[in-house]
Subunit: 211 residues, 2 copies
DNA sequence: TGTACATCAGTGAACGCGCGTTCACTGATGTAC
DNA sequence: TGTACATCAGTGAACGCGCGTTCACTGATGTAC
């Protein structure tokens, strides 16, 4: 009986969630935990990470956590880095052809889209963790700061030479708009904030690249 | 012996922290707790509120908390409202003569000052709790949303008729700039963000009021 | 190819700890006479 | 004015609970022969 049940479970798990015991399997499990954590902190904040809840969300039990991370603190740091990388990769992709005006416009439209507003867990970690950053220890703060600097640099590059100040304003306006649009409960006003700032940034970028 | 010590303590407390037992005394104690909580959540977030820590910070013991609030949840709501009112009162004061360009300029300079950046606990609650808001229950979210709407309205009014979009951009840029300036660890860059956005908003306001 | 053994990812009970909350108690204040 | 009593803000021990962390154990996998 027991072995039948076990076998059935094994079948179900194969290729699904259960990963076997090879080193590659272990790395894959770690990846699933980390990926879930990176989403969790963007949705609910750095302090919302609980080992029990996180492991449950990837259908494992809490004890196994320590096969992959030394402590909750290490997880927080890794999850923050992952969350920032995730969102950086996304914007990097959009800005890939940053030399072209189209790339920049595509990035701005995506950043200030309703989709981005409504899916914080897969979106920009800087906005998702804007208030959390200042409350963390120096190591976490430094990680955030570096990614923010890169964000500014990337946008400045896309805006082009001599438009550094316009790029700075654009980044601040985009970050503020996304954050505020997520809190405003009136959908129409929330949409309007996104639209208004999007149009402003697009116009500013056109002007910068033309001038 | 005991009574002497007691008397000494009473003397020390008189007019200092101990408040007696009248209704006014009770209200004053509640006020001290609430005021500390409103600063605490701006410095460390809504979830950082602990009854023990809070009561210790106003030099009382945890048990007495329930003479003033029903639960931690009620405290969070009250503290959030207080924090938002605190910061709204500040900006209202600066914008008091919003009809004059000087009032608006004073507000913008104060909002994007290093002082404001370096003292989140007494500053704008919207920025301090920008990421926390979305994680709270509907009641707290609604409170934040209403204050955000008022913030937009106030600034729009100061910008004047027909400059609603410029006002929207200004609010987003100010919120983003303050939040980002708090995370950037390089002081020079942090200052530069504040300065750049301040100059942009001041110019935008001048233009709006002139046009 | 088949068998015996070692490895180690994952399990789940157990731990100490800090939290929110309750409650019996204290003692200074305000009130009634 | 002085005295006896009621009130109630504040105290601190105690509670149940969920958390991070540990650890003895399981059993599927990979390896040695």
């Amino acid at each position: 009986m027991m072995s039948i049940i076990q076998n059935v479970k094994r079948e179900d798990y194969r290729g699904d969630t259960f990963m076997g015991h090879s080193q590659a399997d272990k790395a894959q499990t770690r990846e699933r935990i980390l990926s879930a954590a990176a989403r969790q902190i963007r949705a609910q904040g750095l302090e919302s990470l609980s080992i029990g809840g996180l492991m449950r969300s990837v259908e494992l039990t809490h004890g196994g956590f320590y096969n992959h991370f030394d402590s909750r603190a290490e997880l927080q740091q890794s999850a923050l880095e992952r969350a920032l990388q995730d969102s950086e990769a996304r914007s990097a992709q959009a800005l890939e052809d940053a030399g072209s005006a189209a790339g920049l416009a595509r990035f701005v439209r995506g950043y200030l889209s309703r989709t981005h507003r409504d899916q914080p867990d897969t979106g920009c970690a800087i906005v998702a963790l804007l208030s959390d950053g200042g409350r963390s220890d120096d190591a976490l703060r430094e990680v955030m700061s570096e990614h923010i600097e890169r964000f500014f640099d990337r946008v400045a590059e896309a805006f082009g030479e001599g438009a550094g100040e316009q790029a700075t304003v654009a980044v601040c306006a985009m970050v503020g708009a996304l954050g505020l649009s997520r809190l405003v409960t009136d959908d129409k006003h929330s949409d309007e904030i996104l639209r208004t700032v999007r149009d402003f940034v697009l116009a500013s970028a056109r002007e910068a690249r033309a001038g």
